[in-house]
């Protein structure tokens, strides 16, 4: 296991350095003067230009600049936003829980529906149910989620008036963030109705963000299940006279889950990409909306820092998934 971890890290560290190179060169590839782009000042005297240039270390040779940049990253310095003047890491850490909360709800939604649907489709292979489930899954897989979100808003917020249109909680409620997770914070606040308000704000974004992973998981579960159901040990279990439920839930399910767990792990990138669109539609104050807003405000230091932080998060999560996979499936460790 230890050797497996070392092997994974040996690939991860150069990849992270590469990601840092991309983030670092991003500002320098933009048309325009990096000193102005990084300070956000449009007009400046030569003295001011030299001063900022020296302050940001931009007057030094390129390799040293990169070295400073990387050492800065490891001490938590990702630069400052031009617009808010706040450190980027602080902003990221306040917004990140909103994205995590939404993504977790979305993946739970996707797993809770996708896996049973996939199993059911596999057991009833070729039936009307199988075809309908797989048809719906293909539609979900092909869905432009930004449009799907707008449709749900028209139906549930516009016509039926069941759910709110945007935000994380009704403006009536105010309490200081403790964990950053609105569902938990609203419970902790003890205010009446706060929790249900948070839940109602979360429903539509969860469905929108969870749709594509749900379709992918359902399709993957079905094909993994079909493969396992034709194995000899499943036939043996059936021949022993075990109930169909036991054969599926104990003998087939566990082995079919190995590829499905990998698929779920791979959805992290999908979720973060989807969060860009979902958060924009529902004005959800997470890192996806933050990145889009920063692109529009030309807040280049934030784009640079955010890019690196998001890629870092994905790499760490992928590493954890790999390690978990090694625990579930001993065959892969060697």
């Amino acid at each position: 296991m230890f050797r497996f971890l070392i092997g994974r890290l040996a690939v991860l560290i150069p990849t992270f350095l590469g990601v840092a190179i991309i983030a670092f060169s991003f500002i320098r590839l933009l048309p325009g003067d990096p000193v102005m782009l990084l300070s956000g000042e449009r007009v400046m005297s030569d003295e001011r230009h030299a001063e900022i240039s020296q302050q940001l270390g931009l007057d030094r040779p390129m390799p040293i600049q990169f070295f400073d940049y990387v050492t800065g990253i490891f001490s938590g310095d990702f630069g400052r936003s031009i617009v808010t003047k706040k450190p980027i890491l602080d902003q990221f850490l306040t917004l990140f829980p909103a994205t995590v909360e939404l993504s977790l709800c979305a993946i739970i939604f996707a797993v809770a529906i996708g896996i049973p649907a996939g199993i059911f489709a596999a057991i009833k292979r070729g039936s009307f149910f199988d075809q309908s489930i797989m048809g719906v899954a293909l539609v979900g897989y092909s869905m432009p989620i930004f449009w799907w979100g707008l449709l749900l808003i028209i139906l549930f917020s516009g016509i039926l008036q069941w759910t709110p249109v945007s935000g994380r909680i009704s403006l009536m409620f105010f309490f200081p963030p403790v964990t950053g997770f609105m569902l938990i914070d609203s419970l902790l606040s003890g205010q009446k109705g706060a929790f249900s308000s948070a839940v109602s704000h979360l429903i539509l974004p969860t469905i929108v963000l969870g749709t594509v992973p749900l379709a992918v998981i359902a399709r993957q579960t079905r094909s993994a299940m079909l493969e396992v159901l034709s194995e000899d040990y499943v036939r043996t279990a059936k021949a022993k006279g075990l109930s169909p439920f036991r054969v599926v839930s104990v003998h087939a399910f566990r082995n079919a889950m190995i590829p499905v767990v990998t698929t779920i792990g791979l959805q992290v990138g999908v979720l973060l990409a989807g969060a860009i669109l979902t958060e924009t539609i529902f004005s959800w104050p997470g890192i996806g909306k933050w990145m889009v807003d920063s692109v529009f405000r030309r807040d280049y230091p934030v784009i640079q820092g955010g890019l690196l932080l998001i890629a870092g998060v994905i790499m760490v999560v992928n590493l954890i998934v790999d390690l978990l996979y090694g625990l579930i499936n001993p065959r892969i460790r060697h």
Binding site: V11, I22, F26, F146, W147, I154, G269, I303, L307, I310
Partner: protein, 301 residues
């Protein structure tokens, strides 16, 4: 003389037979045939857009702002699917928009396919340091969520359809590199490659004429997948205001313009998205059929 005729006669039934076999498996899947049918209709619509569109895509009818579709109260038959906030006919814009979506799919897939296959061939054929270097770069590109990287690239290059297409192609291309490289590495030590090398074939000939044709099946399947994700991503960038710019009748851009009217005029939002969904669904249906027809492992079942 006789020899030549013989070989062509022998070759022809064989290639015909291959296609017939492919078509047999492809047509087994009803979904794939439906997808192909819808796709052909879409291509026809795109090619014939000026002939079938009832109005010009950017013509504004000042007396017909936000007219609902013809079956709703207040709808007019001349504006079949209604008009948008500045009085443009939605159906005509959707018809012209199909040109953009299909062009985006073709352009992005071609760019990603050709560059990806070339890089993958080089990596798989050269191996060693070149291979490691190339694959690390691909890992780096894949470390970012694709839409985020495309968004940031467009922020660097400047918003617009061409830049959006380049960004999406760059993000999709590592998948082709990986597939090609994996296929090349399994093929390169097979006897027919060695035989060809011994016969004096150079590296270019070995890469492109000997090895590549035997790696095509997974690449074709990946190309259809890329085609649909290119359309989706370009529409998403258009929706975020970073792709095609108004008044281009690109479907994602149309949705972005329609966003503020969602609670007043459902048709402005519904139809462009439906067009994206139908197009992407048709291509994905074809992709599933292609995969089943080209993957020999699945043929038996």
């Amino acid at each position: 003389m006789t020899d030549t005729t013989l070989t062509t006669e022998q070759a022809n039934p064989k290639s015909k037979g291959q296609f017939a076999e492919f078509w047999y498996y492809f047509s087994q899947s009803r979904g794939a045939v439906i997808g192909l049918g819808v796709f052909i209709v879409l291509v026809a619509v795109a090619l014939l857009a000026p002939l079938i569109a009832p109005h010009l895509p950017n013509q504004q009818y000042r007396d017909a702002v936000l007219v609902p579709p013809f079956w709703e109260e207040g709808g007019r038959l001349s504006f079949f699917l209604g008009t948008d906030a500045v009085g443009r006919d939605i159906l005509s814009r959707l018809i012209y928009g199909s040109r953009f979506s299909l062009f985006i799919g073709v352009f992005v897939t071609t760019l990603a396919l050709f560059s990806g296959v070339f890089i993958g061939l080089v990596a798989g054929y050269m191996q060693g340091r070149v291979d490691t270097f190339i694959m690390r770069i691909m890992d780096i590109i894949l470390a970012f969520p694709s839409l985020l990287l495309a968004l940031v690239l467009v922020a660097v290059l400047g918003p617009g359809l061409v830049n959006a297409m380049i960004a999406i192609a760059l993000v999709l291309q590592p998948h082709f590199v990986r597939l090609t490289r994996a296929a090349v590495i399994t093929e390169i030590n097979k006897e027919y490659v060695t035989a060809s090398r011994v016969a004096g074939a150079g590296p270019m000939r070995l890469m492109f004429l000997t090895i590549l044709p035997n790696c095509l099946a997974p690449l074709i399947v990946q190309a259809t997948l890329s085609f649909s994700s290119a359309i989706l991503d370009a529409a998403a960038l258009g929706f975020l205001g970073m792709g095609a710019q108004p008044p281009t009748p690109e479907w994602g851009t149309m949705l972005a313009e329609a966003r503020e009217f969602i609670l007043r005029a459902w048709w402005v939002v519904t139809f462009p998205g439906l067009a994206i969904l139908i197009t992407v669904l048709a291509i994905n249906l074809m992709g599933d059929g292609l995969r089943d027809a080209l993957d020999p492992k699945l043929k038996q079942s």
